[in-house]
Symmetry: C2
Subunit: 244 residues, 2 copies
């Protein structure tokens, strides 16, 4: 029996944003592993074992998936969005570094990551050069984040922030807004896209002067425009010739 | 008759990477507009008018689409990848700035952009903070690009380059590699992903010391690792704790 391991992105929430490739992998799977709310998006059926686990158990989950696949399982590890963007693909390769068993067939199946879904609902704020930064300091020192924010602002990137504000460390997003005001000025546009592509979706665009830390939580994707980002009607977009 | 305009991403090439949302919009469309090779990916059927046009005619195409939609058409403008990443969504909003007709209903439908498809095939090189830069200087001065490259390297982003090397200006990618060697050192990993998710797909990862300008053309997506990006077996990935 030849097993395989697919690390699949479920997109931001709506079934219309799940790729056929991911749907096909889930249809063939014997095991699905992932963080509780993501596994809850996979329909139960005979022959499929659902293995939800807690957040912050990514490395254990990845090793478990490697073991099931090398035992002949058809295993899908699910992430929200895209598995390669602040999600399970890197955890699987980290687990592979410590893995001494048989090497299973591994595939990474891309998905619609939160920043692209949010950008589409807002207009086209990432229409020119941009960057993606995970504002959580669980896995890196805050000083690294602060330095990266300043350099990204000086490079005049549009910026997408994942995990902008945790309940345990809310002051860090307050500090992020201070840095952005210093580097980009008060008039720069900032968009808050909460729970995109779900029934709870909420979109809001303001200037940095008007931005409040409370506008973001862990379900919010934040996009800061470049110097060229502008509004047209209800939309926010960055022209193709930005950055000159 | 109420028309609408959808700006849709077809993904990098494989039908398994086209979202159901985009497929549904194409099924309802009366008109599909886009660059010749992208429109060629849409199946002809009675009641659908295919309107392929040349590259570098984005603004005319967008205005044409607005006119058709405000006349009651169900219009889809197609991009490869994601329409919001160096593609047609920004062009539509630019056209909207000069538009005096009725405002049609506009939706942006996200897709799998080339960098996420390439990253998935390579492993997880964008698993930590990263940026996306369009290396074409058609719409911005080369000095802006060069400055952005240096700041992105100093921020220790992984970097994805779109349009890395044009036939008319091949020397600019040579210069890009020189800058990267200066800023990142000779051992930094660089991956060339050509025609991802098509039958002509070709993947290659080398160090900056080994990288040659000829490894890229306009169908290549280039990914440069951060200082933490590493190999494991055939894979390239950036650990989740990168950048410390």
């Amino acid at each position: 029996m030849t097993g395989w391991l697919a690390v699949a992105g479920l997109g931001p929430g709506d079934a219309g944003l799940v790729t056929p490739e991911v749907t096909a992998a889930l249809d063939q799977a014997t095991h699905v592993l992932g963080y509780v709310p993501y596994v809850a998006r996979v329909a139960a059926r005979p022959g499929l074992t659902l293995l939800p686990s807690d957040n912050r158990e990514e490395l254990d989950r990845a090793t478990h998936a490697l073991r099931l696949a090398s035992d002949g399982g058809r295993v899908v590890v699910v992430s929200s969005g895209d598995p390669g963007v602040f999600a399970m693909a890197s955890a699987v390769f980290e687990a592979l570094e410590g893995w001494s068993g048989a090497m299973p067939d591994i595939r990474i199946l891309p998905g619609i990551t939160a920043m692209l879904a949010a950008a589409a609902r807002l207009g086209a704020p990432l229409g020119h050069d941009f960057c993606a930064i995970n504002l959580s300091d669980n896995l890196k020192p805050w000083e690294v984040i602060e330095n990266r924010l300043r350099l990204a602002a000086r490079a005049d990137f549009a910026m997408a922030f994942y995990n902008p504000r945790s309940a345990s460390r809310p002051h860090q997003f307050t500090r992020t807004l201070e840095i952005l005001r210093e580097e980009c000025g008060a008039d720069r546009l900032i968009s808050f896209a909460r729970a995109v592509a779900t029934p709870e979706e909420r979109l809001k665009t303001v200037t940095l002067a008007e931005a409040m830390p409370e506008m973001a939580d862990m379900r919010t994707l934040v996009i800061v425009g470049s110097s060229a980002t502008r509004r047209i009607g209800p939309w926010v977009y960055t022209p193709r010739s930005a950055g000159a």
